[in-house]
Symmetry: C2
DNA sequence: TTATATTTGTCCGTATGTATG
DNA sequence: ACATACATACGGACAAATATA
């Protein structure tokens, strides 16, 4: 199965819902620092959205300093991530 | 007339060429602070590219602090713009 | 209130290029 | 040559906010 509870009608757009979902996994340690975030393709299947939407979500995580992207390699979880909360 | 000298084969991708062209107009005062940048639709026609490409160019200008965007209104030239260079 | 036009926001699908392994 | 992954681009679609009539 796929489509991790993304609601296209919610006030929060899908790309932000996805960013929030991934951010929580990072904060919970499900995705530990240094480890790659699932590939765009995997995220596309998992959330049932288009690649562009997944890329927008990853852009949010980058801006928030939660991940960093290495071209042609992948997107990885940052250390630190003091994500106050 | 349209297509303000954008070269799809240049090493600089179109969205960066467009961002550079607009940045120069801002720095020259052709687009003074407080005034709206041409709408996305107009920029599409003027540079002969897709809207997504125009939006990418505007995103660059926002990151550089040259403009700010008001949803449903438009994108405006910022004050200050100390664009060291 | 309704209708229309404009503008930005978001999303989809597809395609090509480049880099890595 | 092939698979994977990101970067960029195209075209099309609909929603939401704004302004005006």
């Amino acid at each position: 199965m796929a489509a991790d509870e993304i609601d296209p009608r919610a006030p929060e757009p899908p790309y932000r819902q996805i960013a929030a979902a991934l951010a929580e996994e990072i904060n919970r340690g499900v995705l530990p620092p240094g480890r790659p975030v699932p590939s765009e393709k995997e995220l596309v299947e998992r959330f049932g959205v288009a690649r562009n939407t997944v890329r927008s979500a990853l852009a949010v995580l980058r801006e928030d300093g939660l991940v960093f992207t290495v071209p042609s390699r992948g997107t990885y979880v940052r250390d630190q991530s003091v994500t106050d909360d």
